[in-house]
C-alpha cells in the first residue's frame, strides 16, 4: 500500500501541469529554487559569524534562541498564506478499498516533505555544522537540529488546524506586533523570556521531548479532525462563496467601454490570483524604503529610475503582462460576440492608467529623500503612462498561455512564457539605460525632460498606438484561442 502511495506521488509530481512546461521555464524555476536553497544555506552558514559580530559577548546560540520566537511566528504567518493541505487529491482514493485512517496518514505524512519543512533544514543544518566545527558538543547540536525540525513540523500541522479561520491569522499578526512593540518600547523583554526556553532545547537534550510531544498531539488532532470531515459535503466540498451582485453603475459614464470595465473590475476583485496581486502591488510602495535609506544607492540614478518605473508600474507589470490571458477561460465567447476589440483594450489601459496614478500618489512621500527622487518618480510615472502601457498591451498579443483564475498567485507560473521575460527589457531596461546615459552625457534635467517628453509623446499618439495594438490582437486571434484552450499549457 505504501509503495502504491509513493508511485502515485511520483506520478503526480512528474505529470503535473507545471512540470510539462517549456524547457525555458523549467530551467528558470530550477534556478530560482536553487538560488533560494543556496541563499538560505549561505545564511545558515554565515549566521554563526553574523551573530558573533552582533553580540560579541554572548554565544551565537544564545543570541539566536532569543529570536527564534519571531522565526516561528513568521513561519506560521507565511504558511497561513502559502500552505494548504491538499485534501482534494484524495478524492479518487475514497471509494477504493483503502481504510480511511491510511488515507489520512498518507495525506498528513505527505505534508512532512513539503518545501517549508525543507526550509528549516536547509537553513539550520549549515549553522549546526559551523557550530560543531567551532567546538560545540556534537550531541547537543544534533538534538537541537532535530528539535528545530520538530518545531517546523509543529508549525506545519498547527497551520492545517488553524488555516480555515481568519481569526487565527489575526491572532498571529497581533502577537507578532505585540511582541515587537513590547520589546521595542522596553516594556517587557520578549527575547529575555523566550530566549532561555529555546536555548534549553540546546542546553538540555532531554527537552527534545517537549516539541516531539506537541508534534504528536498536533498530529493526532489533525488526524481526528480529518476523520470527521473526510466527506464530500465536509472538507472535500469546494467552498462556494456567497456571490454579491455588483451594479457598478458609475462605470456607465465611460460609454462603450463600460461593460468591459465592469468585467475587468469584477475579474480583479472576484478571483484569488488577481486580487492578491492588487495587494502585493500596493505593498510594493514600500520597496523604495529599502534603497533610498542606504547611502550606496544615494547617487545611483539608474537605481532610482528602476525604483520609479517599478513602484509606479508594479500593477502595470503584474496585471498588464498577462493581458489578455486573464480572459483566457472565456476568450472563445468574447471572440464570437460582437465586441469592439479596441474598447476591450481601452478598458484595460484605463485600469492600468488609474493604477499608475494611484501608485505615483503613494510614492510622493519619498520627496523626503530629496527632490531628485521625486523628479525621477514623476518622470517615470509619465513614461509608464505614455510608453509602457502601449508596450505592455502590444506584448500581450503574444500571450497564448491559459490562466486559471482561481488559483493562488504564489509561485504560480501559469500563463508565463518567454514573453514575460522579454517584455521586461523595453519596459524596465529601456528607460533605465536611456536615463543613465543622458544623465551621464548631458545632465540630470535633460534626462528627466526626455523621459517626460517620451511619455507625453506616447500619450499624444495613444489613439494611433492603440489602433496598431488592436490590429495585432485581431491578427493573432486564432493563435491565442488555440493556446488558451490548452489547459495544461
Amino acid at each position: 500500500m505504501f509503495k502504491q502511495f509513493i508511485t502515485l506521488q511520483w506520478k503526480s509530481f512528474f505529470r503535473s501541469a507545471s512540470f510539462g512546461k517549456s524547457v525555458g521555464i523549467k530551467i528558470f524555476m530550477v534556478l530560482m529554487g536553487l538560488y533560494l536553497l543556496v541563499s538560505l544555506g549561505a545564511l545558515g552558514g554565515t549566521l554563526y559569524f553574523i551573530l558573533r559580530k552582533l553580540a560579541p559577548t554572548d554565544g551565537p546560540m544564545w543570541v539566536l534562541s532569543q529570536f527564534l520566537v519571531y522565526w516561528v511566528l513568521g513561519e506560521l504567518f507565511f504558511r497561513y498564506f502559502m500552505q494548504k493541505l491538499p485534501v482534494m487529491d484524495i478524492k479518487p482514493l475514497l471509494i477504493n478499498n483503502i481504510p480511511k485512517s491510511k488515507i489520512i496518514n498518507y495525506i498528513l505524512g505527505k505534508s512532512v516533505f513539503s518545501g517549508f519543512n525543507l526550509l528549516t533544514l536547509v537553513t539550520f543544518s549549515p549553522f549546526a555544522i559551523v557550530l560543531v566545527v567551532n567546538g560545540y558538543p556534537v550531541w547537543n547540536v544534533l538534538v537541537w537540529l532535530l528539535a528545530m525540525l520538530g518545531i517546523a513540523l509543529c508549525a506545519n500541522f498547527l497551520n492545517f488546524l488553524i488555516n480555515k479561520s481568519d481569526i487565527a491569522l489575526g491572532i498571529i499578526i497581533s502577537v507578532l506586533v505585540l511582541f515587537w512593540g513590547l520589546e521595542y518600547f522596553e516594556i517587557v523583554s520578549i527575547q529575555q523570556i523566550f530566549g532561555p526556553i529555546f536555548h534549553a532545547l540546546y542546553a538540555y537534550p532531554a527537552t527534545i521531548f517537549v516539541p516531539l510531544a506537541i508534534l504528536g498531539v498536533l498530529y493526532f488532532l489533525n488526524f481526528r479532525y480529518l476523520k470527521d470531515v473526510l466527506y464530500l459535503d465536509g472538507a472535500l466540498k469546494g467552498k462556494a462563496k456567497e456571490a454579491k451582485t455588483a451594479d457598478l453603475a458609475w462605470t456607465q459614464r465611460f460609454g462603450e467601454m463600460a461593460p468591459f470595465l465592469q468585467l475587468d473590475l469584477k475579474l480583479i476583485w472576484r478571483n484569488k490570483r488577481t486580487k492578491t496581486q492588487v495587494w502585493i502591488s500596493l505593498l510594493f510602495v514600500f520597496y523604495g524604503l529599502i534603497f533610498y535609506t542606504q547611502e550606496i544607492y544615494a547617487n545611483m540614478v539608474g537605481m532610482h529610475v528602476f525604483l520609479g518605473i517599478f513602484m509606479t508600474g508594479i500593477f502595470l507589470a503584474n496585471f498588464g503582462q498577462f493581458i489578455p490571458a486573464w480572459d483566457s477561460a472565456y476568450y472563445g465567447m468574447m471572440m464570437s460576440q460582437n465586441i469592439p476589440l479596441r474598447k476591450y483594450l481601452e478598458s484595460k489601459a484605463l485600469l492600468i492608467t488609474v493604477s499608475v496614478v494611484v501608485m505615483f500618489l503613494l510614492t510622493i512621500p519619498y520627496v523626503y529623500f530629496g527632490w531628485k527622487v521625486f523628479a525621477v518618480n514623476t518622470a517615470c510615472a509619465i513614461y509608464n503612462l505614455g510608453v509602457n502601457i502601449p508596450v505592455i498591451l502590444y506584448f500581450g498579443s503574444f500571450n497564448k498561455k491559459r490562466i486559471e483564475l482561481d488559483q493562488s498567485p504564489f509561485g504560480n507560473m501559469q500563463g508565463t512564457s518567454a514573453v514575460q521575460f522579454l517584455v521586461m527589457l523595453p519596459v524596465l531596461g529601456a528607460p533605465i539605460i536611456l536615463f543613465s546615459l543622458l544623465n551621464w552625457l548631458v545632465s540630470f534635467e535633460i534626462a528627466i525632460s526626455v523621459l517626460v517628453g517620451l511619455g507625453i509623446f506616447g500619450y499624444a499618439f495613444k489613439s494611433k498606438l492603440l489602433d496598431f495594438v488592436t490590429q495585432q490582437y485581431a491578427n493573432k486571434k486564432h493563435v491565442m484561442l488555440r493556446g488558451f484552450q490548452q489547459k495544461n499549457g
Binding site: 456571490a243 451582485t245 477561460a329 465567447m333 460576440q337 482561481d406 486564432h478
Partner: protein, 231 residues
C-alpha cells in the same frame, strides 16, 4: 442563410472536416449528429471563426465569416462552459451579454422573464457565481444567454447533455418555438437522436468529417438514424 463551400480543416495530415457544399436556408432548424470526433464542434467553431479553415469558407448571411466580422451582430452561440464568465453571477452575465448585443437591462429582464419555467428557480437570485453552479445549470444560463438580442442564427452545441428530463422537455419546446419563427435559423448538435429528430426539420449526419446523410425529418427519420448508427 448559411453557405459552405469546399470547407476543410486539417491538423497535420489528419483531416477532421471536409464538406464540399452545404446550404442552410433562412429559418431552418438544422440538426447535426455524429459520433465523437465526427467534426460537429469543429464545424460550429469554424462557423464562429474560432478556428481558421484550411481550405474553403463559410458564408453567414452573405458575410464570409473568416474575412469580416459583420456576422457577429446577428449570430449567437453556446458551445460549452468556456463561453461563460465564471466569476459573474448569472444576472451579471446576462446583462454583460446584453450590453454587447445592444440590449439594456430592461430588455434583458423582459427576455429572462419568459424563461422562468426553464430556469426552474435555480439560476436567478441564487447568490452564486456561474463557476459554482452545477453543469446543468451552467448550461441553462449559457443557452438562454444565446437568445439575448434577437439573433437570426442560434448555434447550440449539445444543448441537451447534462440537463434533467424536465429541462430537456422544456428546451425542446423552446427550440421548436424559436424554429417556428421565420427569421431564426437554429443549428443544434446532439448525441440524442430522439431529441434532434423531434426539434429539427433537417438532419445532417457527419462521419469522420464528411457528410454521410442529409435527411428531411419525417416519421421514419428516427428509425433510419438508429439503423445507421447501429450498423
Amino acid at each position: 442563410m448559411i453557405g459552405i463551400e469546399n470547407l476543410s480543416k486539417k491538423y497535420g495530415a489528419n483531416t477532421v472536416l471536409n464538406i464540399a457544399s452545404l446550404e442552410i436556408p433562412k429559418g431552418q432548424s438544422f440538426g447535426l449528429v455524429g459520433n465523437n470526433g465526427a467534426g460537429k464542434t469543429t464545424l460550429f467553431s469554424l462557423l464562429l471563426d474560432l478556428i481558421p479553415p484550411t481550405t474553403g469558407h463559410i458564408e453567414n448571411n452573405e458575410v464570409q465569416v473568416n474575412k469580416s466580422e459583420a456576422w457577429k451582430p446577428f449570430t449567437a452561440a453556446f458551445i460549452d462552459e468556456s463561453f461563460l464568465v465564471g466569476y459573474l453571477t448569472p444576472e451579471e452575465y446576462f446583462y454583460f451579454i446584453g450590453e454587447l448585443r445592444g440590449r439594456n437591462k430592461a430588455d434583458v429582464d423582459a427576455l429572462l422573464a419568459q424563461f422562468e419555467d426553464f430556469f426552474h428557480g435555480e439560476i436567478l437570485g441564487q447568490k452564486k457565481y456561474l463557476r459554482d453552479l452545477s453543469k446543468g445549470n451552467q448550461k441553462k444560463a449559457g443557452i438562454v444567454a444565446s437568445f439575448i438580442g434577437n439573433p437570426e442564427v442560434v448555434i447550440l452545441d449539445e444543448p441537451f447533455a447534462n440537463l434533467d428530463p424536465t429541462t430537456q422537455i422544456r428546451l425542446k419546446a423552446i427550440i421548436k418555438e424559436l424554429a417556428a419563427e421565420e427569421a431564426v435559423t437554429v443549428l443544434v448538435s446532439s448525441h440524442d437522436l430522439m431529441h434532434v429528430t423531434e426539434v429539427c426539420e433537417r438532419i445532417v449526419v457527419l462521419e469522420k468529417g464528411k457528410i454521410v446523410k442529409d435527411i428531411e425529418t419525417s416519421e421514419k427519420t428516427l428509425k433510419e438514424l438508429e439503423a445507421f448508427f447501429a450498423s
